[in-house]
């Protein structure tokens, strides 16, 4: 008879867990609160069935437990009862389905006045495109994608010139205005999901899908990729910031259009050489790095990576943590480069420097390290050569003591914890998969062989 008691306890326990658990849907921030209503209807109907069926089951087991003096009732079928049960079930199912279909009809019909915003997914980063003043998104094609044109903007379509391209992982939306998000993927399947908005949709390469919503609450919400897109799927994060209209407008004014981006001149290495003199004090004349000064090799690093790090140091995204003593030294140095063109020049100069061989300072089991490196190699490349498309810097030839310290900083959240640093955040999550020093040493021993 234990089973009877257990069944009853499980029913009570399930209800209790539901009522008292603190884990429930995050408050809605869009017009899709009617989805929550549909869920409530379904929840109540199914709860009644769950309780009724299982309590009846428990009662039947108790009431008709084995008794040698009794025989079971012989009843092959009972048409009336079966028909009643079928009818009641059908009514219940219809009561759940009907509101669902009504809400779905809303979902299918996008309001005509919805603003269009394009969401672009790629392994493993989000970026966004707004149509600009003409209200039309320019043509794109994956054939045009390269380092200088990550969005694949077509050179033949003038409508693309005023498109606002947002390469960061943060999208702003004005409150109370319906928006139709056009979803496009450059490589594999992704899924644009913001739990507070309730709706989500896959990004499918080769086609443009969409989802629409009206934000109803200001705030900053996580974007998660919810369709498996490879090794770093779980690090593919972004943010939607819902603003009041004037905040949105001022944000929009700061963003660059496609023609702004094309107008940026390339860096001038000769001009950069002068500014590099300051850097050379620690990082060495050839940017080869200096362990005594705790300065890593710059010569191995690609210009776009150096530019991003200088920007982070300047903005206090990197090197602001009290524990990060060496990062804190770098922050004022970065501020000596007054503007973007100075940064471009110095990185152009660094690109001309030849990397030198480094000395291994860390001992580990390279073979085990190779197994760890499989995951790293997805972004940083099989030969640790780095990859612009994934915003992953070169690791081969970098000083191992520096990499070790950075892995440690990432793991502890000293570096990469800021929401402004999407790639740093990815590294935080990744570095945590190397939970102990031995695994880090093994990995670095392997990197030293590359």
């Amino acid at each position: 008879m234990k089973i009877v008691v257990v069944l009853i306890l499980l029913v009570i326990g399930t209800l209790a867990f539901h009522w008292w658990s603190p884990w429930w849907m995050t408050p809605v921030a869009s017009n899709w609160d009617n989805i929550d209503t549909t869920i409530s209807i379904t929840l109540y109907i199914t709860a009644v069935v769950f309780v009724a069926v299982n309590l009846f089951l428990a009662w039947a087991i108790f009431r008709y437990r084995f008794d040698p003096s009794r025989r079971a009732h012989y009843e092959p079928e009972n048409k009336k009862l079966e028909i009643w049960l079928t009818v009641i079930t059908t009514v219940g199912v219809a009561a759940m389905l009907a509101p669902g279909l009504v809400v779905w009809a809303d979902f299918v019909n996008v309001p005509e006045n919805a603003d269009e915003v394009e969401v672009v997914g790629a392994q493993w980063q989000w970026s966004f495109r707004l149509p600009g003043t003409d209200g039309v998104l320019g043509e794109v094609d994956s054939r045009y994608v390269d380092e200088s044109n990550p969005f694949g903007m077509s050179p033949n379509d003038p409508a693309g010139n005023d498109d606002v391209l947002i390469s960061s992982n943060e999208l702003h939306l004005p409150i109370d205005r319906p928006v139709k998000l056009l979803l496009r993927s450059k490589d594999v399947l992704h899924d644009f999901a913001v739990p507070q908005f309730r709706v989500k949709m896959d990004l499918v390469p080769g086609m443009v899908t969409y989802v629409w919503l009206t934000p109803t609450r200001t705030g900053k919400f996580d974007i998660l990729c919810m369709e498996l897109c490879g090794v770093a799927h779980y690090t593919m994060r972004g943010y939607v910031v819902v603003d009041q209209q004037q905040d949105f407008d001022s944000w929009l004014a700061q963003q660059q259009t496609w023609s702004d981006i094309r107008a940026i001149p390339p860096g001038d290495p000769i001009a950069g050489e002068a500014s590099f003199a300051t850097c050379a004090a620690c990082h060495g004349q050839q940017g080869e790095g200096n362990v005594a000064m705790n300065a890593p090799s710059l010569a191995v690093l690609p210009p776009w990576y150096i530019a991003r790090q200088i920007a982070h140091f300047k903005q206090g995204i990197r090197g602001a943590n009290e524990v990060d003593a060496f990062g804190r030294q770098m922050a004022p140095m970065a501020n000596m480069l007054p503007d973007d063109s100075a940064v471009r020049n110095v990185t152009a100069y660094i690109e001309t420097l030849q990397p030198r061989a480094t000395n291994a300072t860390i001992l580990g089991d390279a073979q085990r390290g190779a197994a760890h490196y499989i995951t790293c190699g997805s972004c940083h490349g099989a030969h640790a050569q780095g990859n612009y498309a994934l915003q992953a810097p070169r690791l081969a030839g970098q000083d191992d003591w520096y990499l070790k310290r950075q892995l440690e900083n990432f793991r502890l959240g000293i570096r990469g914890a800021s929401k402004e640093d999407p790639y740093g955040h990815q590294m935080v999550l990744m570095a945590r998969s190397l939970p102990n020093e031995q695994s880090v040493n093994d990995l670095l021993a392997y990197l030293n062989t590359l």
Partner: protein, 587 residues
């Protein structure tokens, strides 16, 4: 074309003599069933271990250095694929289908025994190819068990090179194996039923297995077709499913293909697959309930119609897996409706199981406990299916742990409850020995309560919005810290449940040696498989004479009968005739 079983001519029944012909190169359906069963349980244990490793990472992230994001995804993929295809499909149809069909319909063997044997060997080959992918460069594929292109065959996904090729090959071999076996099952049910065994006298187990096999025969081709096309995309550079794309910053030569087309094909197989697993389980649990409640299954005809109806409908609901896949959202109306319609026959089955217990005379044996556990877990899993099938509710919940919890409840825990019920129920027949009841009950309590402790909280992680297939959650604004404690408790429950399966294995193995002889028909069952002259049945099953069937499979507690069960091969007795027509006008 093949020939009739030699076993059908009892005068030249040459029983196999040597170990090899008896247990390895055997065409006896019972031996093939056991080969299928042992192989399936073995790979199932591999998949169970994989899930334990995954749970360790999720419950205690950043603690173990042998789990990294790459092999985590590989474990997820292999766990899913093994459990769905190589364990559940193989054990339910290859194992129980093989064992029970000839015995329950009164045949001496399958109609095409040689092909049946080939089926097992091909299955074994597919398992070996699958497991081989652990040892190739890059390891097994980590694309998720759905193997969605483009990512399944592109860098950035573990095993995109060798792993996926071996996976697709293994699936193709499995499909060939299943087809050879499946042709046998349907032909045997249709053509080899003994005298008097009309279709509506068959036990529901046979109805379930038969319908599931027909589904399998017609649905697996979709998987085969998609596997062939993806293999060509991978190896020869065709663009069936591959659009123009930029992978890792490099433009690839593909153009124009449609990833969504693959999903349609995959789920055209994938949804019937759910019922390929569920229908045999529905059938077997019906027989276990009837036998141990000493009562006929309630509403037998309705149960048969529901099985056939669910089977037929299952081909029209596939796109409910694709509400957020980017297909035309207008399809949502159609598929949400068909999906919720399928809930009606399913609900009727649940009512009828419960009503079978109502006014029964219930023996709480180990198989019965598992069957009751099944009703509970299946009710829970079926009800959460109403959330996901309803297209708008799927928007917030798809790709979260709610989905994971739902399909484990409905497709993992429930069929496995039935598998345990069936293994305990038919163990005395298969081995001739009785298992240890006490250990069986302990095993039940750990499994039943443990799995509920795993999956009930998991639904709430889904409501929170925790995505599936995440190696680690990291920090978000909407998931409270306390969700991690939920995850840890799920992991602990999972480890306990996993370990408690050792009790089951121990019970099965040690009872082979130490179990009491079970005798013939220890449960007092009516269906034919228990009426063999020997337990376990010998080669050819029936001794010199094939039984004749006189009645349906559920004559339990017939008023006026001497015992509380009348086997199917007992003709009408005088006492019964005076008692009048059975069961008419008692509604």
């Amino acid at each position: 074309m093949q020939h009739v079983a030699i076993a059908d001519q009892p005068d030249h029944l040459h029983d196999p003599q040597t170990f090899i012909t008896k247990y390895v190169y055997s065409q006896d359906h019972k031996v093939i069933a056991i080969q299928y069963g042992v192989t399936a349980i073995f790979v199932g244990l591999v998949a169970l271990c994989l899930s334990a490793v995954m749970r360790l990472q999720l419950g205690f992230p950043n603690t173990f250095d042998f789990i990294d994001p790459s092999n985590y995804l590989q474990f997820v993929t292999m766990h899913g694929m093994i459990m769905v295809i190589y364990l559940l499909t193989a054990l339910l149809l290859g194992g129980f289908g093989n064992y029970l069909i000839p015995l329950m319909v009164g045949a001496r063997d399958m109609v095409f025994p040689f092909m049946n044997m080939l089926s097992y060997w091909a299955y074994l080959l597919s398992v070996i190819v699958l497991l081989a992918s652990f040892f190739v460069p890059g390891g097994p594929t980590g694309a998720g068990w759905t193997l969605y292109p483009p990512q399944a065959i592109l860098p950035g996904t573990p095993g995109y090179d060798w792993g996926i090729i071996l996976m697709l090959s293994s699936l193709a071999i499995f499909i060939i194996a299943f087809t050879m076996g499946g042709l046998n099952y349907v032909t045997t049910v249709l053509q080899a039923r003994t005298h008097g065994m009309t279709l509506m006298r068959m036990p529901l187990t046979i109805w379930g297995i038969f319908t599931a096999t027909v589904l399998g025969l017609l649905a697996f081709p979709a998987l085969l077709v998609s596997a062939i096309m993806m293999m060509l995309d991978k190896t020869l550079g065709t663009s069936f499913f591959m659009p123009a794309l930029v992978s890792m910053g490099e433009s690839l030569d593909y153009s124009g293909g449609s990833p969504v087309l693959f999903q349609h094909l995959f789920w055209f197989f994938g949804h019937p697959e759910v019922y390929i697993v569920a229908l045999p389980a529905f059938g077997m649990v019906s027989d276990v309930l009837a036998t141990h409640a000493r009562k006929n299954i309630f509403g037998y005809r309705m149960m048969v119609w529901a099985i056939v109806g669910i089977g037929g409908l299952s081909f029209f609901v596939w796109a409910h897996h694709m509400y957020v896949s980017g297909m035309d959202p207008a399809f949502g109306f159609f598929f949400a409706t068909t999906t919720l319609i399928i809930a009606v026959p399913t609900a009727i089955k649940v009512y009828n199981w419960v009503l079978t217990l109502y006014r029964g005379n219930i023996h709480l044996t180990v198989p019965m406990l598992f069957a009751i556990g099944f009703i509970f877990t299946f009710t829970h899993g079926g009800l959460t299916g109403l959330f996901l099938g309803n297209v708008v509710i799927d928007l917030p919940l798809s790709d979260t742990y709610f989905v994971v919890a739902h399909f484990h409840m409905v497709m993992g825990v429930s069929p496995i409850m039935v598998l345990f019920a069936a293994l305990y129920h038919w163990y005395p027949l298969i081995t001739g020995k009785m298992f240890n009841q006490r250990l069986g009950k302990i095993h039940f309590w750990f499994t039943f309560l443990g799995t509920y402790a795993i999956y009930l909280p998991m639904h709430y992680l889904g409501f929170l919005g925790v995505p599936r297939r995440y190696f680690a959650m990291g920090s978000t604004d909407f998931i409270p810290e306390s969700a991690q404690s939920l995850n840890a408790s799920i992991t602990i429950s999972a480890l306990i449940v996993g370990l408690s399966q050792l009790l089951f294995l121990y019970n099965m193995v040690s009872s082979l040696r130490n179990g009491k002889p079970a005798g013939l028909n220890p449960w007092g069952a009516t269906s034919l498989e228990w009426q063999t002259p020997h337990a376990p049945p010998r080669h050819g099953n029936w001794g010199p004479v094939v039984p004749t069937v006189y009645r349906w499979a559920y004559d339990y507690s017939v008023p006026g009968a001497e015992l509380d069960f009348i086997p199917q091969n007992h003709p009408v007795s005088a006492a019964e005739q005076t008692a009048g027509d059975h069961g008419e006008g008692k509604s």
